[in-house]
Amino acid sequence: MTTETTQNGNGRSTLLDVRGLVKYFPIKRGFFRRTVGTVKAVDDVSFDIQAGETLSLVGESGCGKSTTARSIIRAYEPTAGEILFNTEEGDTIDLAQLSLIEMRPIRRQMQMIFQDPFSSLNPRMNIYEIISEPLLVHGIGTSSEREDRVAELLRLVRLRPEYMRRYPHAFSGGQRQRIGIARALALNPRLILADEPVSGLDVSVQAQVINLMMDLQDSLGLTYLFVSHDLSVVKQISNRVVVMYVGRIAEIGTPEELFDSPKHPYTAALMSSVPKPHPSQRTKRYVLEGEVANPANPPTGCYFHPRCPFATDQCKVEVPPLVKSKDGRYVSCHRADEIELTTE
């Protein structure tokens, strides 16, 4: 699906191209830890990220969105698939084939921001030590150069450089998350993987972090892979959104396309579950029946068919491929072109 590099038509180049990514986790039981089954956490996922855009992965818990992000940065070993990354030097490298040592220089160009700003900062290290650690690991700069760089990074995330010698406990949740962002930026990465970066914050400080992330993206030309279950935040920050269901992609589109005219019944159900922002818009809720499929024992055919009001016999046996529809969107539904969906 991702052979055209400028599918957005906005002249951006592809930074990352994920093709057929698979990540299975074995289920081990008993004294000899025999493998008795597999959890298909990510099951044939393909998408691309254009340089300078924000691509979000959304879906319910257990849909594989975090596993996808972690497989890309090789925190997990992908079971199969290609992760084609266009490096600064202009080479295209398949990250899935690299050894962990070969992966190390790539990690300078690819950094992660975590959800919990309380557990992701070492309480025994001060802010200077936390932010300069990536520089130290990659052997960059002298001690005084590193200090200058940390001061610069702190200013970038709107914290005062004087706070450099303080410890994480002296900072609020929003400030800690900004420290986490400063650490991620220390090596001048091109791609930032942000896994639920504002979910642990109070709602009144979320906007600070979201605005900061968008400002940094504009000024530093960053590319974000944003993982979140909060669809309102995703709508605000994303250029494009990938909707996942039980390890597979249901649909890819711009936020407006997905929210206003979804093509996959699961997208429609997900969007209509989001609370309406004003009491005058209260409508009969479209409640999705049943439970999310078990990725260790998924149903046959389309994984969504047991909950889908439009399912036919074909859906029960045949896995729908992710195909480009007439208007250039990607949907994996046998009936995408015949059904009318709304998010009301």
Binding site: E60, S61, S172, G173, G174, Q175, D202, V203, S204, V205, Q206, A207, Q208, I210, N211, M214, H229, L231, S232, V233, K235, Q236, I237, S238, N239, T254, P255, E256, F259, A269, L270, S272, S273, V274, P275, K276, P277, H278, P279, S280, Q281, R282, R285, Y286, V287, L288, E291
Partner: protein, 360 residues
Amino acid sequence: MINSLYPMTTETATSPTATSEQPRGLSADPVISVRDLETHFFTDEGVVRAVDGVNFDVHPGTTMGIVGESGCGKSITAKSILQIVEAPGRIVNGEIQYRRDAGSGETVNLLNYGANSESMRSIRGGEISMIFQEPMTSFSSLHTFGNQIDEALRLHTNLSKNERFELGVDWLARVGIPNPTQRMHEYPFRFSGGQLQRAMIAMAMCTNPKVLIADEPTTALDVTTQAQILDLLQRMQEENDMAIVFITHDLGVIAEIADEVTVMYLGKVVESGPVHNFFDDPMHPYSRALLTSIPSMFTLSRERLPSISGSIPHPQNRPSGCAFHPRCQSYIEGTCNIREPELVSVNEDQDVSCFLYEDQ
């Protein structure tokens, strides 16, 4: 079928007609009135005034949404109603007037009952139930779900063992859990997160409460499961004319289910009124800032929203005067940082505590 199993059949058979003659909703007398509630925590570092003079009314058949962020005292307010505040917290002042019976109109101050008194125990989990954010922590992992629902029914009804089991099965089915008879014999770890939340609602609802206190019951859930739970709560409310106190920081959820809204910040009520007034004409600068800074389905892709500066102060470092003044856009030097505003009526429906409305 459920009502017929209750020992208080005669009461419940008459009370619906009694309430249906009364105007439904807000014009009916409140079932719970919280007055000047103060719950303080006596820690080694000093006294934390977690709840500092809170007032609100909850009416039968309606939902009171309590909105606030961490440290605003919303959960402690809820726990104070049921007197389950953990040490070193203590309710130091206030009244919680509870109208026990719609017919006779007998009203009692719950705080006159001891936390462990028989009266309080008969109300807690019976007439007033509570559901929590973390369903895992409100079930014992050592007992089957059936055993746990049986305990609640044994304490609050006079049903026989078979009747209790049947009622439990019935409630599991009503909250949409498949194979309810089999699930009664299973342990909580066999339930998924959403199922556990629904099982907890079943356990809270099986005693037919007049008031349900829901403390962030959908915060940890996916939006699809959240929609299921909100739908379920609203159906239960319509069937039983139950009052709901719904605690959340999610304004979208408030827009979906609340009839009235109380906004709290650092232990105090800053604004209260009907839900439409709150969304159409929020008065307190904090309410306004929340409504404009949080993305919603109205937000456009790549839109910048105004952010609220600073962060929530630690409860032990409460700012002087109005607690919101260091973050406030409408801050008045010399007033807001010195004096504390009082909650006053600014029009027929809305109460606000802000010096902007002092003269009205």
